[in-house]
Each structure stands twice: as structure tokens, then as C-alpha cells.
């Protein structure tokens, strides 16, 4: 399987994703410069975290106009798997690949720490190795991760099981107290209706090795590989 990690100016989790995919998961991976016009030969495209264009206008607002994004759109329309993590998620929202928008965290502070996630939908290309309700320990690091969607959108997301991850406590309970950023319905990750584009605020690439405190992030990379293998068969 060949992964591609896009480098936008200001991306800073690009190398971390590369490392998690290659060294930890053992898959093939290459960087893709954002001005690249050709992305053939990839099975999964990763939009990494960071501060593309410094997040200076709005998070993700400028990066969505990078030349590569047209290609990513075509890739996704053909059914290719796309994952946006943190700033990558924000770019996918700005580009309209996923519904909703991000606001500043409820406490108006950047927040970096380990949190717990509950897997709401294990029947996706990104979570097929997880169980429903499984609790993952994965860190977050963002200022704008307070997910918002209109009531209509939210109910569609709920009906169509597009909410993939929600913030919870150690026991898997969802409370206001453990919702780190004020996200609507404690949403931490959503996918599109077709199920081939995932956006999530937590960083699975940061939790793939026990020495870093958790290996739960590996489940996401390995789920992707599993589903890609199924498709290729």
C-alpha cells in the first residue's frame, strides 16, 4: 500500500505521519509537495497537522486553494481514501470535502494533552479494526477544534453514522467536562457520506509507539491498510 503525505507550507506533522506509517506500520509512504500536479500511484492521501499558511486567515482557509487540492478532490471522487488530521481536518472542512466548521476551543486556549476517544462507527475504512464503543487514548493539540454544524447537518451525520469518534472519559462516558474543546455532540472525527474521507482532530500518528505513551493510533493506520487490501482483492 502506498500512502502520500501532503506538505503544505506550514505543515508540521508531515514527518510524524511519515514516520508512523513507514517505521511503525511498515507501509510505503512518500511526501507530496502542495504544488504537485500529479498524484497517481497512491492508495491513501494524508493531510497532516500543522499551521498551513500560519492559520493566518482562518485555519485551512488558504491551503484549500493549493494546486494539490484539485487532485485530492479527483482522487476522492474516484473513491480513494483521504485522511485529514487536525489542520488537515480543518482544510477538508474549508474545502467542503466534509460538512461543518471549526471554532476556537471553549476555553480560548491552545490545548495539548492525551484524551480518550470513543469509536462510534467501526464499520469504516478507517476503523474496521476497532470495536464499537472501543476507547482509544490519543493526544490532541489544537486551538480550533471546537466542531460546529447546523442542526440539520448534525442530524444527517447522526442518521448516516458519519460521526466516527467522540470525546469521552476513561470509562467511555461522554460528559461536558471531558469534552476538551466544546465540540458539538463531543465530535472528534467525522467522515463523508461515501465513507472514504475522514477528518479527525486527535493525532493518531503521535500514539503509535508505547514509548510515546500509547499505541492506539496504530489501529487507524492498520484499519486503512486492511480495507485497502480488501479493495485490491
Amino acid at each position: 500500500m502506498r500512502f502520500g503525505v501532503i506538505m503544505f507550507p506550514g505543515s508540521n506533522c508531515d514527518y510524524d505521519c511519515w514516520w508512523a506509517i513507514k517505521e511503525v506500520t511498515g507501509e510505503e509512504v512518500d511526501f507530496i509537495w502542495h504544488k504537485e500536479e500529479n498524484i497517481t500511484g497512491f492508495d491513501c492521501i494524508v493531510l497532516p497537522g500543522g499551521f498551513s499558511y500560519g492559520d493566518y486567515l482562518r485555519t485551512g482557509a488558504i491551503a484549500r486553494f493549493s494546486p494539490i487540492m484539485k487532485k485530492v478532490k479527483e482522487f476522492a471522487e474516484r473513491g480513494g481514501l483521504v485522511v485529514g488530521i487536525c489542520n488537515g481536518f480543518q482544510i477538508l472542512l474549508e474545502a467542503g470535502f466534509l460538512p461543518g466548521a471549526m471554532r476556537k476551543n471553549k476555553h480560548l486556549l491552545f490545548i495539548c494533552k492525551y484524551i480518550h476517544l470513543r469509536v462510534e462507527n467501526p464499520h469504516t475504512a478507517f476503523t474496521n479494526l476497532c470495536k464499537k464503543g472501543q476507547i482509544l487514548r490519543i493526544p490532541i493539540a489544537h486551538f480550533e477544534g471546537n466542531y460546529y454544524a447546523t442542526p440539520d447537518t448534525l442530524s444527517t451525520l447522526q442518521k448516516k453514522s458519519q460521526i466516527i469518534f467522540r470525546y469521552c472519559n476513561k470509562e467511555g462516558e461522554i460528559t461536558d467536562e471531558v469534552n476538551p474543546n466544546g465540540s458539538l455532540d463531543a465530535i472528534a472525527g467525522v467522515c463523508n457520506e461515501r465513507g472514504n474521507i475522514l477528518g479527525m482532530m486527535p493525532h493518531p500518528e503521535r500514539s503509535c509507539e508505547s514509548i510515546l505513551g500509547s499505541e492506539d493510533g496504530k489501529l487507524i493506520w492498520k484499519s486503512i491498510v486492511t480495507s485497502l487490501k480488501r479493495i485490491k482483492k
Binding site: Y53, G54, Y56, L57, I62, F65
Partner: protein, 83 residues
């Protein structure tokens, strides 16, 4: 009752990296003839007062004390009577 619109801008000569980056983005997307781009903040608030002069006084005070960082920012405001 007054409706107050406050515009907060970076002082002349203070670097505005955000503005510069936005300009660069506009240029590279292909918009023509973009000159200097400056970022700022816009606030709108209601003030339940009757005397316009007193209202101005209070707005000035609020701007200088908290709303504006006088080290790097300037401000201007509009005040309009509402019912």
C-alpha cells in the same frame, strides 16, 4: 441606546504578517491588482446610555483600557443611536 462599531487596526509601521500572507494567497490564486492587505478586528456592542458625549467617553475608556492593545494597535469607532 447606542450601537457602537469599533474597528481595531495595527498601527502604521507595525508588521502585519497575517495581512502579508493573505495578500500572497490572493495573488497566487490569481486575483489581480491586490495592494497592501491589513488585518484587524471589528467589534460591535450596544450601549444603554442616553448622553452621546458620555457614551463616547466610556467607549474611549474601554478602548484604551482593555479592548485595544495601545502598544501595537489603533482604533476608531462609529456610534449610532438605536431604539
Amino acid at each position: 441606546m447606542f450601537k457602537v462599531k469599533i474597528y481595531i487596526n495595527l498601527k502604521e509601521g507595525v508588521a502585519d504578517p497575517q495581512g502579508a500572507t493573505i495578500k500572497h494567497a490572493l495573488d497566487s490564486i490569481g486575483y489581480q491588482k491586490i495592494g497592501k492587505v491589513k488585518t484587524g478586528k471589528y467589534l460591535q456592542l450596544e450601549l444603554d446610555m442616553h448622553d452621546k458625549n458620555k457614551a463616547r467617553e466610556q467607549i474611549e475608556d474601554m478602548c484604551q483600557k482593555i479592548l485595544v492593545n495601545p502598544v501595537i494597535e489603533n482604533y476608531e469607532y462609529q456610534i449610532e443611536e438605536i431604539k
